[in-house]
């Protein structure tokens, strides 16, 4: 059993301060356990959001020693052996109290995305998809909506461009719809303009912090950027579309081998 010192930020949107706590750490503890222990020992009014303690609900996001992390998945033995552990709420969202942020920006941004709209059903009344076609987008379905990627994205975090750019979580949701074999909505102009794909400079911090290891940049944002190039920046592709007309999506149905 070893005592460790925690510097936890306490306050609200108006301001606050770091308060220092000490607590005993036993084997197997995660940072969230330590925070709960502090809460019960010496800070009953410490606000912290959590739910599953299994890295699946995405509610316990915070900054631990300056890094956006899920506190329930950050083991105490992964911390430096000595020195205080600094705990802060996420920077890119307004603080409500202590470690709790208001993440409602995300829900507003989500509303700007036209929902999944499949093509008409086949004659026998079913929708058919092939695994090979959905492999790509299943990766994005792993998202927990922990918003750590949104917190670390410098476009929001440093530059406050929340209006101009929707951020990585919403780029991969857009990618999962855009690449969907059944979906028929064209979101490319929206991705460029309203969601601001050009603001991402692919510096990959979102990918580095994602607890689900979703390859946000390489598999989501860059493919979207390439589709935006097809539509708006590539003179040859634009000329081909003028001459031959736009590519007809899903002319044929996927071939199912019974």
């Amino acid at each position: 059993m070893a005592k460790r010192t925690f510097k936890i930020w306490r306050g609200n949107a108006e301001g606050g301060e770091f308060v220092t706590y000490e607590t005993d750490i036993t084997e197997g503890m995660v940072v969230l356990d330590a925070i709960h222990q502090i809460q019960s020992e010496s800070a009953n009014d410490l606000a912290v959001r959590w739910n599953c303690k299994a890295g699946k609900c995405g509610s316990c996001s915070m900054e631990i020693n300056g890094k956006p992390k899920l506190s329930c998945m950050t083991r105490m033995n992964s911390m430096p052996a000595t020195g205080e552990i600094v705990i802060q709420p996420m920077k890119a969202f307004p603080v409500v109290k202590d470690l709790v942020c208001d993440v409602s920006y995300n829900y507003e941004r989500n509303k700007m995305i036209p929902p999944f709209s499949p093509r008409p059903r086949e004659a026998d009344g079913t929708h058919r998809m092939v695994q090979d076609d959905v492999d790509r987008i299943q990766e994005f379905r792993k998202c927990l909506e922990c918003f750590l990627c949104m917190d670390v994205c410098h476009v929001h975090r440093d530059h406050g461009k929340q209006k101009e750019f929707s951020g990585p979580r919403w780029m991969i949701r857009l990618a999962s719809l855009e690449m969907h074999p059944l979906d028929i909505v064209d979101r490319i102009p929206l991705i460029k303009k309203e969601h601001g794909s050009g603001y991402c400079n692919i510096t990959r911090c979102c990918t580095e912090v994602c607890p689900e290891h979703i390859n946000i940049t390489d598999n989501g944002i860059i493919p979207l950027k390439e589709r935006v190039v097809d539509r708006f920046y590539d003179p040859i592709a634009m000329l081909m579309r003028k001459v031959f007309g736009p590519r007809k999506p899903h002319k044929k149905l996927p071939v199912i081998n019974d």
């Binding site: 108006e14 092939v130 400079n201 692919i202 390439e226 935006v228 996927p254």
Partner: protein, 294 residues
């Protein structure tokens, strides 16, 4: 302890390079600056030399394809030695610019790497500080436009790729002819280096995000008809390389420079090339093309 004026609610410090991170986040941007800086410095130096770029059947990749040559250059191509596309440098070539064929072709791979989706991360972070590290405060507060304004030209990356694919074929051609010296087949350390170099640069192109998009990624349905099924295969092929694009980017950049250093050193006679022909590949072993009266 009240929160000081330079922190935000949440205790985040404001100011360039400020962070609560405790690890050595600055190590990787510094290494990037050193590595890219060294490659740029060496590449520029080598490109301005204009000589010792050909040793026996080996042509350094920095000078390939040799479009124009200076026949007076020692260890250079021209005058029937090596392969030159369009003959000698014209007489009006300004004397203050070295008659170096590298200067004519290096902008192309330079543009590919400049607009590469991987190198963009590397230099936006290390050279431009947008951001210098993850959850580390960066520069350009409020004026940041990403790739929407000043950096719109990044969207032309695929055109650099098209040219690079041609360049890849030329480098394999160079590697191929390096196995033939004075008409006979053989192997030298130089030929193996050239083959490895051409393969690394091809792997770099195959892992390009634009390549992955153009050869399949742009489709929503990979199984709808036989052309899209074929593109599913090319997309999977590109994805394999794409997952290793960063590593290949670093290794291939270093290897191009290494290849140039090797061939340049052989041409200068600093190191001998081991080969099955038993030939001395240094420039001293053959007269410059001009001396032959060619």
């Amino acid at each position: 302890m009240a929160s000081s004026p330079e922190t935000l609610p949440g205790g985040h410090i404001i100011g360039l390079g400020e962070t609560r991170r405790k690890d050595n986040w600055w190590a990787s941007p510094i290494m990037t600056v050193v590595y890219i800086g060294a490659a740029l410095a060496y590449g520029t130096w080598a490109a301005f030399q204009g000589d010792h770029y050909q040793a026996g059947p080996y042509l350094t990749p920095l000078y390939s394809p040799t479009t124009l040559a200076d026949p007076a250059a020692i260890g250079g191509a021209g005058g029937g030695y090596g392969h030159v596309w369009f003959g000698n440098f014209p007489s009006w070539w300004p004397s203050f610019i070295p008659a170096s064929p590298a200067l004519l072709i290096l902008p192309l791979p330079g543009f590919l790497r400049l607009t590469c989706y991987y190198y963009r991360k590397a230099y936006y972070r290390s050279f431009m500080g947008t951001p210098p590290g993850c959850s580390v405060e960066g520069v350009l507060k409020g004026q940041y436009g990403g790739e929407t304004k000043l950096f719109l030209w990044q969207n032309f990356h695929r055109y650099a790729l098209y040219l690079a694919l041609i360049y890849n074929v030329i480098l394999f051609y160079d590697a191929g002819i390096s196995f033939f010296y004075k008409g006979s087949f053989g192997v030298g350390v130089g030929s193996i280096i050239l083959l490895v170099n051409a393969s690394l640069l091809a792997s770099y192109s195959f892992g390009c995000h634009s390549f992955r998009h153009l050869f399949g990624g742009r489709l929503d349905c990979f199984t709808c008809d036989s052309p899209s099924k074929a593109q599913h295969s090319t997309w999977k092929f590109a994805t394999w390389f794409n997952e290793r694009h960063m590593q290949v980017a670093w290794i291939s950049l270093g290897f191009v420079m290494f290849t140039d250093i090797y061939i340049r050193s052989v041409s200068h006679g600093i190191i001998p090339d081991l080969n099955t022909w038993g030939a001395n590949m240094s420039a001293a072993a053959r007269p410059a093309a001009a001396a032959l009266g060619l």
